[in-house]
């Protein structure tokens, strides 16, 4: 088992199909910063079901070739500037999805079935742009027309997120963020950073167990105190709204984004001045 975020990052190869949660659901920002430092290339990001600053950083740093997501935005802080520019300039490929299609496709993988049906969506141009999605007559409906969308199972190479606790048995605790379990169940490998290590086995505690993702699904974990920062963990530390707003302003230009990386991700400045330490 890896012990440090940089070791987890080193296990994520160039070109990996990497599933990430939204900014409100505990992305592992500690590993995201390491991926940038390690100059990872050609990642394919899956937003489950949307992405935010976490993806914008990776895109701006040149780590990403393709994004599949229902949206990429900084929420209250506005558009995700590096994503927006990269798509407008054709620097990354965008596979537009809709939130329940992503959840459903992961649930198909979780169950080991090749596809799952989903209501709605018919009439959306999303379908025209997704040759992998199929609209078919509902085979259970014997009379009358009932078209329904089928989405193929999505199996990410790697799921990556942050957790409140890990324990000595290799389990992680995500509390109410149980949608993270679906990503872990569907992915080939799951890497998790955590705030604190708990002694023993959380599955033996009836109150903790419902928020646990079993070690069965966890490939490796690493301790990263405040590893979601500048995003948050409900009840532990809040999203740093002021920092997000600062990032949104900085990342409007490539130069501003580069300065942000130098200051907060410790990318060495081009002028070879010593890197500042992270906040």
């Amino acid at each position: 088992m890896a012990a440090r975020p940089e070791q987890l990052a080193a296990l994520i190869p160039d070109g990996a199909f990497l599933a990430l949660p939204p900014d409100y659901s505990m992305p592992s920002m500690a590993v995201v910063r390491e991926l940038i430092l390690q100059k990872r290339k050609n990642l394919r990001l899956l937003g489950v079901p949307v992405l935010g600053m976490c993806a914008d950083l990776l895109i701006g740093a040149g780590c990403v070739a393709e994004v599949e997501s229902s949206a990429v935005s900084l929420g209250e802080a506005g558009l995700a500037p590096r994503f927006t520019e990269a798509v407008e300039k054709g620097e990354i490929r965008m596979r537009d999805a809709t939130c329940p299609a992503v959840h459903t496709a992961l649930q198909a993988s979780e169950k080991g079935v090749p596809f799952m049906p989903l209501r709605g969506v018919l009439g959306s141009d999303l379908i025209k742009n997704r040759p992998d999605w199929v609209v078919q007559q509902n085979p259970m409906q014997k009379t009358g027309s009932d078209p329904i969308l089928l989405v193929p199972a999505i199996t990410p190479d790697i799921a990556l997120f942050h957790a409140r606790w890990a324990d000595e048995a290799g389990n992680v605790w995500v509390g109410r963020r149980r949608e993270l379990a679906t990503i872990a169940h569907a992915a080939k490998q799951t890497f998790v950073t955590y705030e604190e290590l708990k002694p023993g086995d959380m599955l033996e505690d009836e109150l903790l167990a419902p928020g646990v993702i079993s070690a069965t699904y966890i490939t490796a974990t690493a301790r990263a105190e405040r590893g979601a920062w500048p995003l948050g963990i409900a009840g532990v530390y809040d999203i740093d709204d002021a920092h997000l707003a600062q990032y949104a302003r900085a990342a409007r230009t490539r130069e501003g984004f580069q300065r942000y990386l130098e200051q907060f991700v410790c990318i060495p400045a081009k002028s070879s001045s010593p890197a500042s330490s992270p906040a």
Partner: protein, 220 residues
């Protein structure tokens, strides 16, 4: 005197009507205010705010919201759009060479939730277009509310129901619509509603929409 936000919240409250369960997505302080107003008036209404930071209603994230909606357990939902057209389609993906965040759950929610209310504060030809460039979602809207006017849906077209201020709505709307010979002015909030909005409602909205509560009610 009421603010524009208070007026819009009262209109949204009217559009929600007798619903039992309303879901509120990201960045929707006015729909959230409308829901809290209905609760403050004593309506037995369940409100599920996806982005509630403390005491979030879900334990399986947005997946649970979409499953609830797919089963018909959500009566009212709100959608906006970078573009909205005269056929009721919305576009959250791209327009005029500009990229927007993306469709979120709209493609699903618009067709499975019985009463989808289209809400966009900006009322301009840039937003209200004859035909959207990209159809994120198509459906049957319950209504279209903007910062200037309220439209109902006839089944094929929008119909102008009222304007919040006197003005030439047709000149500011890119799509064609039906209208009565005399367009009424949108009903203004009652004194009772204003008291509730500035009291109980403001206090309930502030934790999740601090900027909004500060701007509209001066709550810090």
């Amino acid at each position: 005197m009421h603010t524009r936000e208070e007026l819009l919240a009262c209109v949204v409250a009217r559009l929600i009507g007798e619903a039992r369960h309303v879901a509120v997505g990201a960045a929707s302080p006015i729909p959230a205010t409308a829901c809290e107003l209905l609760k403050a008036r004593g309506q037995n209404l369940r409100v599920s705010m996806l982005h509630k930071r403390k005491g979030n209603p879900f334990t399986e994230g947005s997946r649970e919201l979409f499953d609830l909606a797919g089963q018909g357990r959500i009566d009212v939902f709100f959608l906006g759009g970078a573009q909205i057209d005269g056929e009721g389609s919305i576009n959250l993906v791209r327009a005029d060479g500009k990229r927007f965040p993306g469709s979120f759950g709209s493609a699903f929610m618009y067709s499975v939730v019985k009463n989808t209310i289209l809400f966009r504060e900006e009322h301009s030809k840039r937003v209200l277009v004859p035909k959207v460039e990209f159809v994120s979602a198509r459906g049957t809207p319950g209504a279209l509310l903007t910062g200037k006017a309220l439209f109902s849906w006839t089944g094929q077209r929008f119909r102008l129901e009222s304007t919040h201020q006197p003005g030439d709505i047709r000149a500011e709307t890119g799509f064609d619509y039906d209208a009565p010979p005399q367009v009424p002015v949108t009903a203004i909030p009652s004194e009772e509603d204003l008291l509730l909005l500035r009291g109980k409602v403001a206090q309930r909205i502030a934790p999740d929409y601090p900027d909004f509560a500060r701007r509209v009610w001066g709550i810090d």
